[in-house]
Symmetry: C2
Subunit: 201 residues, 2 copies
DNA sequence: CATCCGTACTTAACACTGTTAAGTTCATGT
DNA sequence: ACATGAACTTAACAGTGTTAAGTACGGATG
């Protein structure tokens, strides 16, 4: 049924595509995810909403593209902290989340009902980001890089903890009596501590 | 402007109110948050949508009531594990999240754009739940119950880690190669470990 | 009895959303 | 000159939260 979209990406389409993405990104940052709509984006670029559909197929399509861009941004944060140890990597992750709240929202907070059929290949970026944590965790644990599954699981645990931190802060659910910076620093210290001091063999 | 709602809660209104809440809860569990709408709920109980507005003021009003109910459910889970140590409390939290995904979604995952002006008094329940963690953390740390602010902050760190676990699992973002149960158990062990083995004085 | 009044509820609309069928416009190739 | 197809638009559908206006009824008051 929906096989009508030819997925045409010719030379000139690139321009329109990036124009849409740029404006959408702008509006996303300004108004948050729930503040943007296909019509608003369309109006902002001077095209009709249907044009966006011709380019991205659906709002999810545009959504995915923005998520991808967010993953790249995150990767830049993490790459910069690469090699500086687990604590630095954790801090970089949290910094990304707090400094790019709207991107964090669409990347990890919003579930557009179609998260199940996310095109898997688009998650290579996400997995690569996780692998950065796996490396750092393996380092701290005195990695037997044989058991990759185990290291990945532990890296996911670290990621979950960090995600919890960012998610609660971004959602404004942390008690105001608790200083944000102190909370972040203290939490990361706990996370790293759980892996450093010979804990759990 | 919106001061027109008399907030009338007489005898008979209780029935209709709980009728709405029951059906809404049912639909929430069956269809998830995005699957319910005022009109659908109204149709399910044989009233017009406007009637729900007369009872709850807005979708957010109904939403808040459901969140409150969810907080009670969570409290029941946590109370059952009370006194059995931090690990048991953590496990109870995660179990609640995984066994009541739709409630967890509206409680901590969905941000209805008005999370800022949540009526604070409704968060007594939420804070009480957090206090249960504070107690358990204080126990494990060899509590100087003087520094309540510090204990609360550490309890929030634990909560954040647990929230991350549930959030990622519920959102289906954990790599399928990682066993859910093993992941949960391993993560909780790390969390408890971060506080038990004389870590961080 | 008749009138008023407020409660409980409904209908109908507004402005918005994502989405799509059915065009239209227009340059290009034959 | 004609056909093709790509690029783009208009107009609509079905749905959303929300609200103004109105109806029906029951009880109190003149």
């Amino acid at each position: 049924m929906q096989g009508s979209s030819h997925n045409v990406v010719e030379k000139d389409d690139r321009d329109l595509r990036t124009l849409i993405l740029d404006r959408a990104s702008r509006l996303l940052v300004e108004d948050g995810y729930s503040g943007i709509s296909m019509r608003k984006i369309a109006q902002a670029i001077g095209y009709s909403a249907t044009t966006i559909y011709h380019q991205f197929g659906s709002k999810d399509g545009l959504f995915h593209a923005l998520v991808e861009e967010g993953m790249d941004r995150l990767a830049r944060y993490l790459d910069q902290a690469k090699g500086d140890g687990l604590a630095a990597l954790c801090r970089a992750y949290v910094n990304f989340g707090l400094e790019n709240r709207e991107y964090y929202e669409i990347m990890f907070l919003v579930t557009p009902d179609s998260v199940d059929r996310y095109p898997i290949h688009k998650y290579r970026r996400a997995r690569r980001n996780l692998d950065l944590f796996a490396e750092a965790v393996a380092d701290v644990l005195g990695a037997p890089s044989t058991d990759l599954q185990y290291v990945r699981s532990e890296a996911t645990t670290v990621w979950a903890a960090l995600h919890g931190i960012v998610a609660l802060i971004v959602a404004g659910r942390i008690d105001r009596g608790i200083g944000e910076e102190q909370f972040v620093v203290g939490s990361i210290r706990r996370i790293v501590g759980a892996y450093s001091s010979g804990a759990l063999a």
